[in-house]
Amino acid sequence: MTAVDRSSPRIARVVFCEDEVQIRKLIELAMRSTTHAIEITPNGREGLAAIERLPPDLIVTDLSMPEMSGFDLADAVHARPPLQHIPIVFMTASVQRGDITQFAAHGAAGYLAKPFSPRELREQIDRLIGGAPKGPATGPVADEPIP
């Protein structure tokens, strides 16, 4: 397991769990311009296997997936001491008030509301592994002008 260097952007391992094929493709394309090593899995069970095989620096997971949901995955990760420190970001299509408290209950480091843009995804990932101060779980900044 590599120690997380929070001082500067660097190569990090990120595991994604997403069951929608189009969104998996989008994630892959969005992460193409970064230096991070990514692994995209189609559900929580395979995601957990990938996490256990080689613990990542960040986990980004969809919520409702077949076989193992995002919440179940987060709980499983938090139940394993060697993996407990890994921040988890939830991607979800329904962000309502109740959901956000649920994210916190499952130890979310942040969340991404669908639809999200590739840039928002990258920013959220950089914020959590690239040395940005780790604040409370917050959503993406919406509709900022593109530089």
Binding site: D19, M65, F116
Partner: protein
């Protein structure tokens, strides 16, 4: 992405006000019946108690009067003996006895007058008047006997006293007999009442108990119905919330693709091939959105009963052949075989909707057979119905999902079907259409070895109309 919970929109419940009125009507009726039962039981008890009480009173009074008459009559007879005794041997003691007999006699008679009817009063008044005459005549007897004139005393007794007393005794005897008869009648009524009360009491009690139990059940049902209605309303509002969440969820997934791919096209330097590819991805997601909207509207119209069926004579075999031909043109990876039962008659159905059923089921079969594999369509004439089966050799459906797949937004997903992009509404639409045709649809599956969808449609009845619910 599929939500685990099925979203089913139940028929709208009647307005709460109507329900409350219904409920009150039921409860009021039940209360009224309960009061009725209690009143009937009370009336029965009061009637029985009253009858017994009055007959007991009547019998007691008749018996008392009878006893008094009897006593009066026996005293009259006794007085005769004391008269005779005095005539035979006039002494002070015997005179005292004779006087005492007459005094007590008058007291008894007054008691009868006080308790008896007016007729008794009149009789007693007559007896007393006669008795006064008798006492006056008795003075003569006493005087004659005291003077030692036994012959005169006997004469007075036989010729004066006896003619006074005899008819009186007859009348007293008659009154006594009347009272005995009255007491007997009262006892007879009492006996009959008691007997009937004994017979009816358990019956009335049983009926009353049964009615009370029935009413209790009615109350309980009312209460349960109220609780169920509240639950229904709760469920409905929960379903609505879930429906909104699901719809927003279902729309956001393709929107993520559209937003993401378009941003990549805008912001990244892409090759022409990549631009084309992403445009195709956007197109896929846009089509999915469009399909989602039209499926949702379709389903909504069907469930709210807004979709009218245009029933025509439909040759099911021809409809299947046409639909299969279109699929064969579009998809060459799945050989489709069609086996038609020649005996299947012309059906009464909406051909467009039936085509939608076949298209959805065939589309499903193809989607869930990602690695190719034959698909078989078969019709069979069975007793009173036509059975259409569509079988694939795809990934199959877990047993616990066989019924759930007909619910909205429920999709069977597994490692093999990740590429499947559906709206999750196709099978709900199929079920709605089939049900509107008074038919049934269900699925069977051998996990890992394909699934079969069965559609059962009723044959047209002789009148030529399909009964549509």
């Amino acid at each position: 992405v599929s939500l685990p919970d099925a979203i089913a929109v139940a028929a709208p419940p009647r307005s709460p006000a109507v329900q409350r009125i219904d409920q009150h009507r039921g409860t009021n009726a039940a209360w009224l019946s309960l009061v009725g039962v209690v009143v009937c039981l009370a009336v029965f008890s009061v009637f029985a108690a009253y009858t017994i009480r009055t007959q007991v009173d009547r019998a007691e009074r008749a018996q008392l009067l009878h006893d008094s008459y009897e006593k009066a009559s026996s005293q009259f007879l006794r007085r005769e003996r004391s008269e005779l005794a005095y005539v035979l041997e006039p002494s002070a003691d015997r005179l005292a006895l004779l006087t005492a007999a007459n005094t007590g006699f008058a007291e008894d008679l007054e008691a009868i007058a006080a308790r008896g009817d007016p007729a008794d009063g009149r009789l007693v008044a007559e007896i007393l008047a006669v008795h006064r005459r008798y006492l006056a005549a008795l003075e003569g007897l006493i005087t004659a006997a005291a003077a030692g004139d036994a012959a005169e005393a006997h004469r007075i007794e036989d010729e004066v006293l006896d003619p006074i007393v005899e008819p009186l005794l007859v009348r007293i005897e008659a009154a006594r007999a009347d009272r005995a008869a009255e007491a007997g009648a009262a006892f007879a009524v009492l006996s009959a009442t008691a007997q009937w009360t004994l017979i009816l009491s358990p019956l009335v009690f049983a009926i009353g108990l049964a009615l009370v139990l029935a009413l209790w059940r009615r109350f309980d049902q009312n209460q349960r119905a109220t609780r169920d209605r509240y639950r229904e309303i709760e469920d409905l509002s929960r379903l609505r919330a879930e429906f909104v969440a699901t719809v927003s969820h279902e729309f956001r997934t393709p929107l993520t693709g559209i937003q993401g791919f378009s941003e990549l096209m805008r912001d990244d330097e892409l090759s022409r091939a990549e631009v084309k590819e992403y445009a195709a991805d956007i197109n896929t997601d846009a089509r999915r959105l469009a399909r989602l909207i039209s499926d949702m509207l379709d389903l909504d119209r069907m469930e709210s009963g807004g979709m009218a069926l245009h029933l025509e004579s439909v040759d099911l075999g021809r409809l299947l052949a046409d639909t299969v031909d279109q699929f064969r043109l579009a998809d060459e990876g799945h050989p489709i075989t069609l086996r038609l039962d020649e005996r299947v008659p012309v059906l009464r159905a909406d051909p467009d909707r039936l085509t939608q059923v076949v298209t959805n089921l065939l589309g499903n079969a193809i989607k869930y057979s990602p690695s190719g594999g034959a698909i078989e369509l078969q019709t069979r004439l069975e007793k009173g119905v036509v059975l259409l089966t569509i079988s694939d050799h795809g990934s199959g459906i877990p047993a616990e999902q066989l019924e759930k797949i007909f619910d909205r937004y429920v999709r069977v997903e597994s490692a093999a079907t990740h590429a499947v992009q559906g709206t999750g509404l196709g099978l709900s639409i199929v079920r709605q259409i089939v049900q509107r045709h008074a038919g049934r649809v269900w699925a069977t599956s051998v996990a890992g070895n394909g699934s079969t969808f069965h559609v059962e449609l009723p044959l047209p009845d002789p009148a030529g109309a399909v009964s549509v619910p």
